[in-house]
């Protein structure tokens, strides 16, 4: 043996008596990190407090249902904006959800080839595309060709944001369904599409609904792609071919006006928007929980972050 006990004592004597110092450094780092956490929480707290505090004073039945009054008057409401947001979310889901679900089925059930790997990768990259560019795309292929602003263009742009999120969450949910379910279906002689729709999807429902709801909460707050597609309006919906209002657009317009009463209305609209969006998020977490890791995966893939 090369090292004797004496030698070892010699080595030990070389060790610096630095534990106190190291523990102090550790403590300092710990404090810094804790401060970081606080710094990150402050904006959230401030946003929620300000939106609630200022917004609540604007809320009334008239505010929620009426058309906007004359600029700076502080009268009128955000009725058309609420209506427009509901319409555009509905239409975008109509386009985005079926494509997303089918695409998720493709990735999960036929996902073991080069095409699928590419789809998966570009799906993730597409999720990170600046939303304003998606708006321009919708403008080019719909508004420019029709020659006027169109509700369909806005719905199409939002559907483009929506479908990759739905696709990835659908894929993840379907993959969590045990293979035995599919085997049981095959053993019964069922066709693959029947197995997928009747057995696999019904087992994966929870995760898929989570994905769809979170995608809805994401597009509900989108502003940029609506600027060049539905423009904004102060009238209730009348036709697919004229500009329409939406909550985020209304908040933008109101916040830029130099009147305190308008800004207050902006807070009011923000309160309505945040109430719906945070509400969806909380409800989804409450009902579907964090257990399946869906939320984490979504965030990792960008589904929850607004542009």
């Amino acid at each position: 043996m090369t090292t004797t006990n004496e030698k070892r004592q010699e080595y030990r004597a070389l060790f610096k008596n630095n534990v106190k110092k190291r523990l102090l450094v550790d403590k300092i780092v710990h404090i810094i990190i804790f401060a970081f956490v606080i710094i990150a929480i402050i904006p959230l707290g401030s946003i929620l407090v300000e939106v609630f505090k200022n917004g609540i004073t604007a809320i009334s039945y008239e505010f929620l249902t009426a058309t906007p009054g004359s600029i700076g008057s502080g009268e009128g409401g955000i009725g058309p904006a609420i209506q427009g947001t509901l319409i555009i979310i509905g239409l975008a889901s109509l386009i985005g959800v079926p494509i997303g679900v089918m695409s998720g089925i493709f990735l999960s059930e036929y996902g073991d080839n080069r095409l699928a790997r590419n789809v998966r990768f570009f799906n993730d990259v597409f999720m990170e595309f600046p939303s304003i560019v998606l708006g321009i795309f919708a403008f080019l292929v719909i508004v420019l060709i029709l020659g006027h602003f169109s509700v369909w263009a806005g719905a199409f742009a939002l559907a483009l944001i929506m479908f990759p999120i739905v696709a990835r969450t659908t894929e993840e949910s379907l993959k969590m369904v045990p293979v035995t379910y599919r085997e049981a279906g095959t053993a019964l002689g069922l066709k693959k599409w029947v197995i997928t729709f009747r057995i696999v999807i019904s087992a994966a429902k929870g995760g898929m609904i989570t994905g769809i709801l979170l995608a809805v909460s994401r597009i509900g707050g989108e502003t940029a792609p609506l600027i060049m597609t539905i423009l904004g309006s102060s009238q209730f919906f009348s036709s697919m071919d004229v500009p329409m209002d939406a909550l985020p657009l209304r908040i933008w317009r109101l916040s830029l006006l130099p009147y305190e009463s308008s800004q207050l209305q902006g807070w009011g609209a923000a309160l309505v928007l945040i109430f719906v969006i945070i509400g969806i998020n909380l409800a989804v977490r409450y009902y579907f929980g964090n257990g399946n890791g869906m939320i984490r995966k979504l965030i990792k893939q960008g589904g929850l972050v607004k542009k």
Binding site: A40, I47, G220, T223, I251, S255
Partner: protein
Amino acid sequence: MEKKLDVHRKQNIRSDKIFKLAATIAGSFVLVIIALMIFQLISESYPIWEAEGLGFIIGTDWNAVEGRESFGALPYIAGTLVTAALAMAIGVPLSIGIAMFISDAPAKIGGPLGFLVELLAAVPSIIYGLWGLLVFRLYFQDWVEKPLHNLFGDSIFLFSGTPFGLDIITASVILAIMIIPTVSSVSREIMKAVPQQQREAAYMLGATKWEMFKLAVFPYSKTGLIGASILGLGRAVGETMAVTMLIGNATGISAFPSSFFKPSQTMSSIIANEFVEASPASLHLPALIGVALVLLLIAIVINVIAHLLVTRMMKVKEGAINN
């Protein structure tokens, strides 16, 4: 009997084939859209490339007035990159710190805290903008910008200009707040992927918690953490509304970022500000579409790199060690 079975199987195959085809088409949709999008942006912005050539990217003049039209997007490209870089410089250390805290805290604290930070991600951009414009800006102007300006304003160019709260630094700080949820939650997942045995190895050697992170966690997750940060960069580059509301919206050469306290413009904010007014007949619209094209290409490059890094890290987590 056997024949009947055969027919049945054939039907089976046919309806399943249609099903598979439909799924494949839906799956390929994303590829088609990306290709079509790039094609559209190139063809619709073609006039501006024809008129300005490379000058569109390196020029600094921006004038939409008929007869004196001139479009150089460099200030906006610079504005985007500078605000995104500043947002990274502020947001990434914060995010990684938060990820460290949450990945290490007991579930009772870490769970709700992680949830709160993730809730930040659910707040729409427009509300960050509203809050930034009507609340944050005022505090930031009084407590940070003015003291800094008074201290360094005349000697260091970075702090020159009139601190008004509608400038590069305010936009960057808001961007930093907006990327924290993304970067910290991806970082946390990546740190969680570091095997427990690695942490134990460090503790066994007598490491403190911080030394454990330096010995076991950071080296192991370096690639993934870089990927997470770049993902945040991608978000910051593409962000529109909050920036548009806070950056001051200068145009042309005056939008070129030279001081923290100067108004500027990013690629996405110039589009948001001018797109609706731009006439399809003039060069203005092709110029804005050209800006969108540049923005998209930058975003694609950033995100492709980020995804490659993050997925590589997540794949490494199982196999790399112990052969």
